[in-house]
Assembly symmetry: C2
DNA sequence: CAGTGGTCTAGACCACTTT
DNA sequence: AAGTGGTCTAGACCACTGA
């Protein structure tokens, strides 16, 4: 049933983590659903409660599950609010997190550029969907961004077009429509000058300094699922980073 | 001897972590020194090995100690290399971490500005030391920065003046000369245009976009110990962020 | 109240490092 | 061989949740 081997190279709790991770990735355990209680799971997998708990703690740290004393263990819902809290690090000058409003300005599909292929680990020329968005912070246009998605992962890309869904995080849409659970990201940050087009979009002078964010997002299976290039007007906002 | 109470609000392993943290902060256990083995420590503190291990794991995660099977547990040395690996997130376009060369251009002491007082949790007008530096990446001047330190924490600020020490991380100097162990930082990032002065220093056009990094650093006791404002020329480098 | 996760303990065994 | 940290187990007890 399980391929658990004691004298494996990896510790038992890592093997258990991988098994449970796979159950979530495969959709056997769906988002928001309760998973079996500790004693039951431990018995099924043939490990002690302590080992199982250690695996569950690692899944919780990766935000794949949520545990609450007395309630149970649930596969993360990745609601809009949670996704924003984890992945949207913009604050205003008072230090308060802000919620963006998003407006899609264009959707296209075409062969990946060399840059996109490299970052998304695609073969040269594989198809990608591209979404262009404008995002408002506290009522003002502050972010211009382009999102590139491997077409193979998002067959027949269905976009949320209702105004209500436009405000929601797109990661929630990935999960609902394509079963992709986003868990981590790598970003490269730099400074750039606003082009004419960006200046018009953001209402800033041509050549104004913008914070350029190039993000590659990964799902629970470790696949790169999104390349996002954002330009943030920092006249009224900051990007927050914590180092531990 | 210890004030460990079982029905405390905090779990035992958190209380143990705090006790061990205090021994490091107070200098009872010095940087690089081995601490007692698990059985000895557990007996001394009157807790089980499991509880002690959990506390040690948390200290290790905060980079305050290092553990190696067969060798023992050591208070972190915070060598130059380790400090850079944790706190210096600049990469070149190949994605490789780069080591900065640092040149101090000025040192002054004076009353804190309102901004400095707020970020460093000082009373208005308390004294701060200020260090201005220019930093080179791969041979070129790329960073202009000012570091503000609470004078109360750095009595008679002794600066490393030998050329060799100039290259080392200043956090290593904090530890060696003032016993301050740096463990975490919060940063606000934005984009700014180069002033005439910065342009001259960095060899870029006036108005060129720079990545502006405002960092507050905290020590093992949770005190803010440094406000650092850096301006990074991103023509040849990126600032790397990981989100988990 | 029953059932859940969270804490704490005690002890066995293993893998690694040093002498 | 002796001593270290790393893994795994089994079980007791507590704190929280919901019916």
């Amino acid at each position: 049933m399980n391929e658990l081997r004691r004298p494996d190279a990896r510790p038992l709790y890592v093997q258990v983590e991988a098994i449970l991770n796979e159950r979530i990735v495969s959709g056997e355990w769906k988002s928001g659903q309760a998973i079996p209680a500790e004693p039951e799971l431990a018995a099924e997998l043939g490990v002690s409660a302590g080992t199982l708990r250690r695996a569950l703690a690692r899944l919780e740290q990766r935000h794949l599950i949520e545990r609450r004393q007395g309630r149970g263990t649930y596969v993360s819902q990745q609601t809009s609010q949670q996704a924003l809290g984890l992945f949207f690090r913009v604050r205003n000058f008072a230090g308060k997190p802000v919620r963006p409003e998003s407006f899609i300005t264009g959707v296209t599909t075409g062969p990946a550029t060399p840059e996109e292929a490299a970052r998304l680990r695609l073969s040269p020329g594989e198809a990608v969907h591209r979404i262009d968005r404008r995002r408002h912070l506290e009522g003002e246009p502050r972010i211009a961004e382009r999102i590139a998605l491997p077409a193979a992962l998002f067959p027949g890309l269905s976009l949320p077009l209702a105004p209500k869904q436009l405000g929601a995080e797109i990661y929630v849409h990935y999960r609902n429509a394509h079963g992709i659970i986003v868990v981590s990201a790598e970003e490269d940050l730099s400074a750039a000058s606003a082009t004419e087009e960006e200046a018009a979009l953001l209402g800033c002078p041509v050549g104004a300094p913008l914070l350029l964010i190039e993000r590659v997002t990964f799902d629970a299976a470790g696949r790169p699922v999104e390349l996002r290039v954002s330009r943030l007007d920092t006249r009224a906002h900051r990007y927050a980073v914590e180092i531990v």
